[in-house]
Amino acid sequence: MIMATTHCARESARMLSLMEAQSSERPAKPPSDRPRGSRSQWEECMTRITRRNVLKAGTALVGGMAGILATGRAPAFAQGTTVHWLRWNDFVPTSDQLLRKELLPAAEKALGLKINLETVNGNDLQPRITSAIQSGSGPDIVMLFNNHPQIYAESVIDLSDIAGRVSEAEDGYYDLCRANSDDGKKWISLPWAIVGAMIAYRKSWFDEVGSPTFPDTWEKYREVGKKLKAQGRPIGQTLGHTFGDAPTFSYPYLWSWGGTEVEKDGKTVNINKKEVIESVKFMTAFWKEAHDEGGLAWDDTNNNRAFLSQTICATLNGASIYLEALRNPDKYITEKGAQLRTDIQHAPLPKGPAGQFAMHTYFSHVIPNYSKNQDGAKALLKWIHTRANYEPWFVSQKGFATPPTHEWETHKLWDEDKVMTPYKIAGRLGQTPGYPLPTSGKKAAEVLTKYVITDMYAKAVQGSSAEDAVKWAEDELKKIYT
């Protein structure tokens, strides 16, 4: 073999020198000192190497791949005690830094694990878990929004033991946590936090139009909004396909007028009724009179930019606008020269004929049952949900995220900044998609992901009649619930 290789090398060198010697304008010819039609040793040598060696290597490669595919397991070097945790890019970046630099190194030391934290855009969490479940491999812990865990109920492990322990230690979970994280048999996800949805508004601008306190009914809000829009300061609200702000506005709005996507029996769709049609008619007028009409195409970040650039007077949001104004007090200045942070207040959504409602963006973690490190993943969740370890993360959020248990309502953080105080009890006030069902199941998750409720209002705002928009929603809901 060595001899053959040496011979080939010599032959290659001879061929190269021959080719170099020939003019570049002429194509290279094989040496002519042999009979026509016969092969040179060099060609024979190259042919042997190419065919056999390449085929052998190819067979080995295919065989190796086939072996991996047949076992359905990753190669041994890819396994181990690493726990892969997939989360969103937090709207409060300091919290992600805290996790990476302090909390997770401490967890690695305490648990003897290697933790790989990956953060992605919030919209990318669902595609990631879907492909991971279908392929049977992926992150060991995945953060999900709202009632999305219900979609994956059969493919995630039971977390009732950890949930029970946390609930017992911290004065119980809020009802909305169970509705989102319990499939009726077990806890399929472990509650992490609730991002309270409140209206952030410009206090001085509301004062100027004669509304020293935030309007507590939709009618009052519309009147105030009309005056503000006339001054070039509209309300900013998205009715687009967003995971956060659009549903947290459209669902409570529907509930406050007496509408629900389904009756308590979980089967009867009764949305096509007078109250809901009234709500749609009201929304159409409210939108034109008081809103920034670009909101139809906004994503979850547009309203932050619009508020901070002083284009809108109010918007339903988590506290990220205020927190950004706090972080950069000299960057955001009002038209009167004051720091913007001093002119921001928070308020819950107004009341409707059927009452006052809220829906908050909810976060929880699942452990897919394909995970090879379920024990490690559970150990990490247990570790981070102890009070001592969870508290630094909660404090770093400065109130943007409300913990899922009652005990934290008494935390001193809520007394530090009165602007954030309304978020303290966000967990108590919120309902979940599928309300009034006790558990927000797969069907409610499907309604949410298809944006049926949000699009009902968006269609009307775009020009459909209220009756047509409600009929459309009714048809869509019936396809899902019946």
Partner: protein, 313 residues
């Protein structure tokens, strides 16, 4: 002497017989089969298997993580009665039709211009390719900012040029949102047409056009009766590729509108994604994806038949 020669020949031409397995590989037919095998495996793994898996999924009630049961054509029946699906079908045909016509017209115009001799020709040709080189998602984000409902730089420009007095709600109005994604697709697709057609133009001998000119043909006659017929086979191939890509487009719509407002810009691919990935209804998502297949298959068959006919002629 004859015996001696025979002995010598026996020594020279009777090398040690190769092992049977290797001898098999020296057979040209077997070798061809073995060399083709990786390609066949790749095609089977990445094209045939997903396609068959898609068909199997579409006739079950599978959800994410749950294999599901056979339900026949129930998913197809369901999507045919789905208003959003019907909107997606209309949108997809509109989007593909309009963008292809514009991409062809603009691409051809650019190709003819670039086929001329002028200073900086090489630089201009490279520059024209830029929209095609930049990753789609990045360039689409840039467009999204330009069409931003509140801070649109296009609106700012039009306003300061005195062409508009109020804001245009590019992505919030259903019709304008569709026009916006069509504009972005055209912007991105024109370089592909231009460069491909330019390559086609360069294979046409200038002597043909010169001969026609000597015979008194005007420029547009030279183009219509000489250049265009010779360019047609290339054009058909380019259009074929473009139609397939545009029909299955996902990134531009997903980034710019997410299918909104109120499903007004959903295409096959974005709606299939929303149903299959978003709601976990894999079988229904597969049915929506497969609904594209007959239309695309028909386009491909017609165009390939046409190309074959042109080549034979």
């Amino acid at each position: 002497m004859a015996i001696a020669e025979s002995r010598v020949e026996t020594k020279v031409y009777m090398p040690q017989a190769p092992r049977p397995r290797l001898r098999l590989l020296e057979d040209e037919r077997w070798l061809a089969f073995v060399l083709l095998l990786p390609t066949v495996v790749l095609l089977a793994t990445f094209i045939a298997y997903p396609f068959l898996r898609g068909i199997l999924l579409s006739v079950t009630d599978a959800r994410v993580g749950v294999p599901g049961n056979f339900v026949g054509l129930a998913n197809f029946y369901k999507i045919l009665n789905d208003g959003i699906f019907r909107t997606s079908v209309y949108n997809t045909f509109l989007y593909t039709g309009v963008t292809t016509v514009f991409k062809l017209a603009l691409g051809l115009w650019l190709a003819v211009l670039l086929n001329r001799n002028f200073r900086g020709k090489a630089f201009t040709r490279a520059f024209i390719l830029l929209p095609f080189i930049i990753p789609t998602v990045l360039s689409t984000f840039a467009w999204k900012w330009m069409f931003d409902p509140t801070f649109s730089v296009l609106n700012w420009l039009l306003y300061h040029l005195g062409l508009i007095t109020g804001r245009i709600n590019w992505l919030g109005d259903p019709q304008l949102a569709m026009i916006s994604i069509i504009i972005v697709n055209i912007w991105r697709g024109v370089p592909f047409f231009a460069i491909s057609l330019l390559a086609g133009l360069q294979t046409i001998s200038p002597e043909l056009s010169e001969a026609a000119a000597i015979d008194g043909a005007r420029p547009w006659q030279r183009f219509w009766y000489v250049t265009w017929p010779l360019l047609l086979p290339v054009t058909m191939v380019v259009v074929l590729f473009s139609v397939i890509q545009t029909f299955a487009d996902f990134q531009i719509v997903y980034v710019m509108t997410g299918g909104g407002p109120a499903n007004a810009t959903h295409l096959f691919a974005t709606y299939a994604y929303q149903i299959g990935i978003g709601t976990g209804l894999l079988s229904e998502g597969a049915a929506i994806s497969l609904a594209m297949f007959p239309a695309l298959f028909l386009v491909v068959i017609i165009q390939l038949l046409y190309i074959r006919r042109v080549e034979v002629r």
